[in-house]
């Protein structure tokens, strides 16, 4: 009997493993490289990584929420809100940059906290909680700014998403965004390896077992939402920096982040997957967008290509892993 179990396992693709997303990523990269060889030159690659940082950060934040068995649909509107708030508060005054950045982080954490508390304390499904939060944030930010963003971001604020260390040995340039991404990614990986990260996965996999093993499931899940909110804050700082103020700053990012996480092999419903996979999923998505730019896929047809590739990729990894868990 032990033998049977062992063998069945060896053949199985390890669910939540990185193999499928790595394969997709490499294939896309090769396609990109053959079409546009200089894309793979270090400076270009560095810029690409820098501008992909926001989605990767959001995917990392979303990972914690999804692996805990929840959803965060509010991150897109949170990013928009953050950027608009930042512009109005900074109002192009460089001296306000740092206080506002701290405020944004606090704001992100607070929104996450509210999401988490409503979900865990009031037992509202997180899909609904964060959908409601999405509506509230969008409405509130339009309301607060009278329908049009006001003020402006200071250059000090914008450099994080826009500027780079130039003339770096070997790689040419290193965007600040990339450094921030690396730092946050390292933190995220450490966090998933920590006791909190592991118990969070358990809380997503089987909350009752986790609770009876001493995991404070509600704390853990709430903290996951806070992490997602914080990630959205950092992403907002980078997006605001990269492209300035706009109501479109965060539009659709929640779906992008969730798609990325799922592409990266993280199961919706919780309990399995890695943060590296989630971030790789986001990078793959960004690569796909760039690929379409280089291959000149008609602007209007892009979503079709994107949809087809996502469906294909997820189908392939679903075939290889366990029966899909339903949305909760």
């Amino acid at each position: 009997m032990q033998l049977a179990e062992r063998n069945r396992l060896r053949v199985r693709f390890r669910p939540g493993g990185l193999a499928p997303i790595l394969v997709i990523f490499v294939v896309l990269l090769v396609l990109l490289g053959t079409r546009q060889p200089d894309f793979l030159s270090p400076p270009s690659l560095m810029s690409f990584l820098g501008r992909s940082a926001p989605l990767i950060l959001l995917a990392a934040g979303q990972y914690f929420v999804i692996v805990a068995g929840e959803f965060d649909l509010s991150v897109g509107s949170l990013v928009t809100a953050q950027v608009v708030v930042a512009a109005r508060l900074i109002d192009s005054d460089p001296s306000r940059t740092w206080p506002v950045i701290l405020l944004l982080l606090a704001f992100g954490a607070a929104v996450g906290l509210v999401n988490g508390l409503i979900t865990t304390r009031l037992r509202v499904s997180s899909f609904i909680t964060t959908l409601g939060m999405y509506l509230i944030l969008v409405g509130a930010v339009y309301l607060w700014s009278d329908g049009a963003p006001k003020g402006g971001l200071s250059e000090e604020f914008r450099r994080f998403g826009r500027r780079a260390f130039e003339d770096v040995f070997l790689v040419g340039r290193i965007p600040y965004a990339l450094l921030i991404l690396l730092a946050v990614a390292a933190l995220a990986v450490l966090l998933t390896r920590s006791d909190f990260g592991r118990t969070l996965v358990a809380a997503g996999g089987n909350p009752r077992t986790a609770e009876l093993s001493g995991v404070r499931v509600r704390h853990a899940k709430t903290l996951a939402f806070v992490l997602s909110g914080l990630a959205a804050a950092v992403a907002a700082i980078l997006i605001g920096g990269y492209s300035g103020v706009s109501f479109q700053a965060g539009a659709g990012l929640e779906f992008g982040a969730i798609t990325a996480v799922v592409l990266g092999g993280v199961a919706l419903g919780g309990g399995r997957g890695s943060v590296v996979g989630a971030m790789l999923g986001a990078l793959t998505l960004e690569t796909l967008f760039t690929l379409m730019n280089f291959y000149g896929v008609s602007g209007a047809l892009r979503s079709t290509v994107q949809g087809a590739i996502i469906l294909l990729a997820v189908a392939v990894s679903a075939m290889r892993s366990v029966p899909a868990k339903g949305i909760q």
Binding site: M1, Q2, R198, A202, G205, L212, S213, R216, A267
Partner: protein, 502 residues
């Protein structure tokens, strides 16, 4: 008996089944005649479940033939087998708590009139079926989620009968039942028998097997060991067939009278919504058995002590000092561990690895970053010490057998070095080999100075393992029994009367 029986209802010949090249069943022959209870026993992994799934249409066999009611059959799925007249009562109930009894009973084959489901016919027929097994007190219109476990099982059986099942597969039907409920099940099975229905009865509990079965088939490692009339064998021989070991080696020696140390845990006047006036003391080194019927407050007591559903009144002391066990974390910090009854639902994280499962409690209660490596090493040692058999420590725990899963859960708790261990049905659904390993472990823990509370519905286990037994009834302590008490003693206290017929 078997020689004389004509025309079997079900005849399996040379059944074989492989998964990914591994032989799980090999040349199994088995037959069931109408009105017979045919028990199938064997360790977990012996191939019982696979065999049952083949009979009920869940799997197609690789080799061999299935004959049912005189004709060769190949079932394309559970639906096909059901249509043919093979019903199955699962170990874990297959019922929808949000739906009514009738809706559950007729799920998949609702009666239809003019294209629409005939709800009245459905209710009436359900009532008739219930009446036919003398269970008419069960209303067909009530929500299943509101019924107790025993009544849910009746719904399961009626569900099979509704399909005019001529063969009923019962897979560990007593796993969730208390003893008096098991009695009712016996009565039910005998009624089915009288109606000419053949029953394939899978169980780990040898007592039931001998109480009910006409013939017993033993499987081991996917092969047929023997099929014998129940009257021609006894539990000892059967266990030897299954594992090649004597029944007498089941229970380790009890503690000597002066082994137990100082009082570790006391409860005075403890109570909550499910418990009242609980007074008890457990000493270090002692195994205190907790007996009682399902719903008598046994699990509630364990959950109260573990802080999952805390006492709202009374006092608890630990090593003489009063403690407040408001949450599992508080209990764990106080050195209490709880091995739950519902292993799948509350014991393991199915999709997580063996190692992650074993590390869970430590990570939750004593988070550390620097001490990670040391902690992991300690848990690895514990996993080895409790003899978990898995391909690798990274294997997902859901692929392990029940016994191995339970050992991982034990390792999780041992990693915290608990002074008090609460076991709730620690050997339920676990094969004989793993069972005795767990018994040994429990005793060893007590010997090493832990205070152990052990809840068990398996009376021989309760009696065999406990140094003392407390029996609960209706949330109160009905009485205490010393080591060497009999099953009748326990039942008398549990029922509050002289036991009906045991």
């Amino acid at each position: 008996m078997s020689d004389a029986l004509p025309s079997p209802l079900l005849a399996l010949k040379g059944i074989g089944k492989s998964f990914l090249g591994v032989r799980v069943l090999d040349g199994v022959d088995l037959d069931v005649v109408p009105g017979e209870v045919h028990a199938v026993v064997g360790e977990n992994g012996a191939g019982k479940s696979t065999l049952m799934k083949i009979v009920s249409g869940g799997y197609a066999p690789d080799a061999g033939t299935i004959e049912f009611a005189g004709a060769p059959r190949r079932f394309s799925g559970p639906r096909d087998a059901q249509r043919a007249g093979i019903g199955i009562v699962h170990q874990e109930f297959n019922l929808l708590p949000e739906r009514t009894v009738a809706e559950n009973v007729y799920l998949g084959h609702e009666p239809v009139r003019r294209g629409l489901v005939d709800r009245r016919a459905m209710r009436e027929r359900t009532a008739e079926l219930l009446a036919s097994i003398q269970e008419s007190s069960l209303p067909p219109g009530s929500r299943v989620g509101r019924l107790g476990v025993a009544r849910q099982q009746i719904v399961e059986i009626v569900k099979a009968l509704a399909l005019d099942a001529r063969l009923l597969i019962m897979d560990e039907p007593t796993a969730a039942l208390a003893d008096n409920e098991v009695e009712r099940l016996y009565v039910l099975v005998r009624r089915l028998q009288q109606r000419g229905i053949g029953v394939l009865y899978v169980s780990h509990r040898l007592k039931e097997v001998f109480d009910l079965a006409d013939r017993i088939t033993v499987l081991k490692d996917g092969r047929l060991v023997t099929t014998v009339p129940a009257a021609d064998t006894d539990p000892d021989r059967l266990v030897r067939h299954m594992v090649g070991r004597d029944l007498s080696s089941y229970y380790p020696d009890r503690a000597a009278p002066d082994d137990p140390g100082p009082v570790r845990l006391t409860v005075h006047n403890g109570g909550n919504r499910k418990l009242r006036d609980i007074d008890l003391r457990v000493r270090a080194g002692e195994v205190l058995g907790i007996g009682g019927l399902q719903g008598s407050g046994r699990s509630a007591l364990a959950r109260a002590l573990f802080g999952a559903a805390p006492f709202t009144t009374g006092e608890v002391t630990l090593d003489g000092a009063p403690v407040r066990l408001r949450s599992p974390r508080a209990a764990m910090r106080a050195g209490i561990a709880y091995v739950t009854e519902d292993r799948k639902g509350e014991g393991i994280v199915a999709g997580a690895s063996v190692l992650d499962n074993a590390l869970l409690a430590g990570r939750a209660v004593l988070p550390t970053w620097r001490g990670r490596a040391a902690r992991t090493a300690r848990v690895r040692e514990l996993l080895a010490a409790v003899d978990v058999r898995a391909a690798t420590e990274d294997q997902e725990i859901r692929f392990l057998s029940g016994g191995n899963q339970q050992k991982v859960v034990l390792a999780r708790w041992l990693a915290l070095g608990p002074g008090i261990l609460l076991f709730d049905e620690p050997t339920r659904g676990i094969d004989v080999g793993a069972k005795s390993a767990i018994h040994d472990l429990v005793r060893r823990l007590a010997r090493d100075g832990a205070a152990v509370l052990m809840i068990s519905s398996d009376l021989p286990e309760l009696l065999g393992m406990s140094d003392r037994i407390i029996v609960l009834r209706d949330g109160r302590i009905a009485g205490e029994l010393p080591a060497g008490a009999t099953e009748e003693d326990v039942l008398t206290l549990a029922l509050g009367t002289v036991p009906a017929a045991a």
